[in-house]
């Protein structure tokens, strides 16, 4: 069921990955016919045909008739019984290129993205070398990387992620950076974080913080608490996360107060504690521009999943308590959480096959986010389909200012997914398109099967 070969009929599908999203050329006209079109941004959830032309959405209508001239070179995708939705957007992935191509490359990472329904991903800067220059930012976006989804680089906030010297945000933005962050290396010094927020605000860039007071987490490899004690592992206390979130919010408030024109945008990456979500909620009530994302593993798994030292349950921030996990779900249901982001963090098998404390942090997530979200958020917790899709497309697009994405309104990029909303299937990590297999969800039941992914009009995945 998780075969690699596409089973779309030859006349209406190209092989997956034959052409990359960012390569020039004339995309075909595509007509997606008879599907249930769910476009949360446009408030549409109805049966609609969708016509894609020149990489853009050309028409959305109950019934689209092709002119005889177009009909000859139009690929038609029958979406009867399927959902047609905006391509998903993941604002937190680690593509590992440049530098760590044994874990992932931009080509393999975006192939996994396409298989999971993602047509745009925001790539974290902890590459080797660090993405702290316009050159690397541009290099990552080059068609030569052979991507199957659009890559939006997030640049390092400080030189080499050291938290000392602030990078040239103007140049990075001009090169295509959509935000700045020192993900994985939280900016602890108040004055540096204040400067980063001020400079990013001047250039209209969000600041993404991996909130972890590393002074409280030295030598720790999982959540602090009874399970860590039981397993003899040093723990990361929740206050290491929410303490820094609260500090950052204070800095944002100070900046907003001192300068009427400045409206800094702080985005809290991968929130995992109840208090961090509460702090974001309160900041927003106070009128501040503070957003947050939650990863599927943080709304599904708890520290108990570490079990017998399963390194596929090791990530940073760590899996937390049941109360925290429930708070992530509640935050999603309540609308406090702005986006679901995977924190896709591939690692080679041999890197994870070591002692728990020595294993690197992170799991893959691009191919499981939709299936888990549909199974649990929609299937179990009754979050409406359009809201699930919004958290995976419209909202992250708005969060990072991706124009013309996360919606299927006419003129938007032809980033589209077609999926079977009720199909249940089993995720097998061994079949992943990613170069790595480090998924804690291996063998889990997924709901919603991607049939087609189109990136800017090109069919990049079919199954």
């Amino acid at each position: 069921m998780n075969d690699h070969a596409g089973n779309a009929s030859p006349e209406n599908a190209r092989p997956a990955n034959e052409r990359a999203a960012n390569t020039p050329g004339t995309p075909p006209i595509t007509l997606i016919r008879g599907g249930r079109l769910v476009d949360p941004a446009a408030g549409i959830d109805e049966k609609r045909d969708l016509l894609l032309r020149d990489g853009r959405v050309a028409e959305v209508a109950p019934r689209i008739h092709l002119s005889p001239a177009d009909a000859a070179h139009t690929q038609i995708l029958d979406a009867t019984g399927l959902v047609v939705a905006p391509g998903l957007i993941d604002i937190h992935v680690h593509l590992r290129e440049p530098g760590q191509t044994h874990k992932e490359t931009i080509a393999t990472g975006t192939a996994a993205a396409a298989a999971g329904g993602f047509t745009a991903v925001a790539a974290m800067p902890n590459t080797v070398p660090t993405n702290d220059t316009p050159e690397i930012t541009r290099w990552m976006q080059s068609p030569d990387r052979n991507p199957s989804a659009r890559v939006f680089p997030i640049a390092a906030a400080t030189r080499a992620l050291r938290g000392e010297q602030i990078n040239d945000f103007a140049a990075l933005k001009a090169a295509g950076a959509v935000a700045v962050t020192d993900d994985g290396h939280p900016i602890l010094r108040d004055n540096i974080m204040r400067e980063v927020l001020a400079a990013a605000t001047r250039h209209g860039l969000p600041v993404i913080q991996h909130a972890e007071d590393t002074r409280l987490t030295e030598g720790a490899s999982m959540n602090a608490g009874p399970v860590a004690f039981r397993l003899g592992l040093r723990g990361m206390p929740p206050e290491a996360e929410y303490g820094l979130v609260e500090r950052d919010i204070r800095l944002v408030a100070e900046l907003a107060r001192d300068s009427k024109s400045a409206r800094p945008h702080l985005h809290v990456a991968h929130t995992s504690t109840a208090q961090a979500v509460a702090a974001v909620h309160q900041a927003r009530r106070n009128g501040l521009h503070v957003t947050c994302e939650v990863a599927p593993h943080h709304f599904l798994l708890t520290e108990h999943h570490v079990g017998c030292y399963n390194t596929h349950a090791k990530m940073n921030p760590p899996l937390r308590s049941e109360a925290d996990r429930d708070a992530m779900i509640q935050g999603i249901l309540d609308g406090v959480v702005d986006a679901i982001a995977t924190d896709h963090a591939p690692h080679a098998a041999h890197e994870k096959e070591v002692e728990f404390e020595r294993a690197p942090n992170g799991i893959t997530g691009l191919e499981t986010a939709l299936g888990l979200s549909l199974h649990w958020l929609h299937g179990e917790w009754r979050l409406p389909l359009s809201r699930v899709l919004s958290l995976l497309s419209a909202q992250p697009a708005a969060l990072l200012g991706f124009k013309g994405r996360g919606t299927l309104s006419v003129g938007s990029f032809a980033d589209v997914i077609v999926f079977d909303p009720d199909a249940e299937w089993t995720w097998l990590a061994a079949h992943s398109r990613s170069r790595s297999r480090n998924s804690p969800f291996d063998g889990w039941t997924m709901r919603g099967r991607i049939r087609h992914t189109l990136s800017e009009g090109r069919l990049v995945h079919s199954a």
Binding site: E218, G219, G225, P226, F229, R230, L231, G232, L233, R234, L300, L301, H304, H305, V306, G307, C308, Y309, E322, D326, I329, Q330, L333, H350, E353, V354, E355, F356, E357, R358, W376, E380, W381, R382, W444, T445
Partner: protein, 346 residues
């Protein structure tokens, strides 16, 4: 509006994918002993019985039991007592033993635990006895090699053979012979106080998980820096008593632990204050006559957690523990090399 908790509880399929807890026990090789919870009470009875039988057997006959079987001792941390104890136990049964220590060249050169384990297996090792500074390392070794693994201490996690030898010592202290089949009430009414550096102690963890299963009350005693409150949540039957004298007043057996300077990770302790509050002295023992037996897993630091007089005194069972260690480990080595999958569930 229904709350999330209600909606989670009412959902149909929560248990399969979102379990409240994941079992900590090994599901690997039936001869392994990775954590004390791997063993049922019946299996513990069996181990204690075998320990007594092997201990009393004629050494020449015993040496035929596992003649020329190959056991590897893989020690990433230095150890005198445990290593020697396992080695003597294995040799008493006739095994050939090989010691690979952290000073061995392959480990020094950065070979992974998996590769070292596979190498030992290829060299003919039939079981591996592992001591390792990282918690959970025995699971990795068992998974990588498929061999029975005996955990001889992993990080701050567990030291199950120590808990078994402590149990044998305690049972003897209480006059319960080796023939006793242990049960959930064998130690009912007995209070064991473990005092000292609980946070970093694998001995404490294995004992606090084992003794309550036999009905004992385990009291933990120490300063918050070495004994976090949440230690009481490690399992049933565990309580915390910060005041050592209060703890002693309720105890029958006290187990003293050394401060593990190597794991303190920057933690500063006032040792004079520590001695004053937690050192076991003859005066304290005299003031609390209910405490009949003093245990210590070693190595002891005379003059810190206990005085020399106590270590050498009439209540001290420290050397009995060492003797019991060899017997218990003979039973564990034998089990490692003879257990079968069908026998694992008995």
């Amino acid at each position: 509006m229904t709350t999330l908790r209600q909606s989670i509880q009412s959902s149909r399929t929560r248990p399969d994918a979102l379990p409240a807890s994941v079992p900590f026990a090994s599901t690997g090789h039936p001869g392994s002993l990775l954590g004390i919870s791997d063993l049922s009470l019946d299996q513990i009875t069996g181990t204690l019985t075998r320990a007594s039988l092997l201990e009393s057997e004629d050494p020449l006959a015993r040496a035929h039991r596992l003649a020329k079987r190959r056991i590897a001792l893989l020690f990433y941390e230095s150890s005198t007592r445990t290593r020697t104890s396992f080695e003597l136990a294995a040799k008493s049964l006739g095994c050939d033993t090989t010691l690979v220590s952290s000073l061995s060249s392959s480990i020094e050169k950065g070979e992974t635990l998996k590769d070292t384990g596979l190498t030992l297996r290829a060299l003919g090792a039939e079981a591996i006895i592992l001591r390792h500074p990282n918690s959970g390392a025995p699971w990795l070794l068992e998974q990588s090699t498929g061999l029975p693994v005996l955990n001889a201490g992993d990080g701050m996690h567990e030291h199950p053979s120590q808990a078994l030898l402590d149990l044998r010592t305690i049972l003897a202290c209480l006059g319960l012979g080796a023939e006793t089949a242990i049960a959930a009430n064998t130690l009912a009414g007995v209070t064991v106080t473990i005092t000292g550096d609980i946070l970093h102690s694998r001995v404490a963890r294995s004992n606090m998980l084992l003794l309550p299963r036999l009905g004992a009350r385990v009291q933990l005693c120490g300063p918050p820096a070495l004994l976090p409150d949440l230690a009481a949540q490690a399992g049933p039957g565990i309580t915390i008593e910060r005041d050592f004298d209060h703890a002693l007043a309720q105890s029958h057996i006290v187990m003293m632990l050394r401060i593990q300077a190597e794991r303190l990770a920057g933690l500063q302790l006032d040792l004079d204050e520590y001695r004053q509050r937690y050192q076991l002295t003859v005066e304290r023992l005299a003031a609390h006559p209910s405490v009949a037996h003093v245990l210590h897993p070693g190595p002891i630091i005379r003059g810190l957690e206990l005085t020399a007089e106590v270590a050498d005194g009439p209540q001290s069972r420290i050397l009995d523990q060492v003797r019991n260690g060899v017997a218990i480990r003979m039973a564990l080595v034998e089990r490692a090399l003879t257990a079968t999958r069908s026998g694992a569930t008995q």
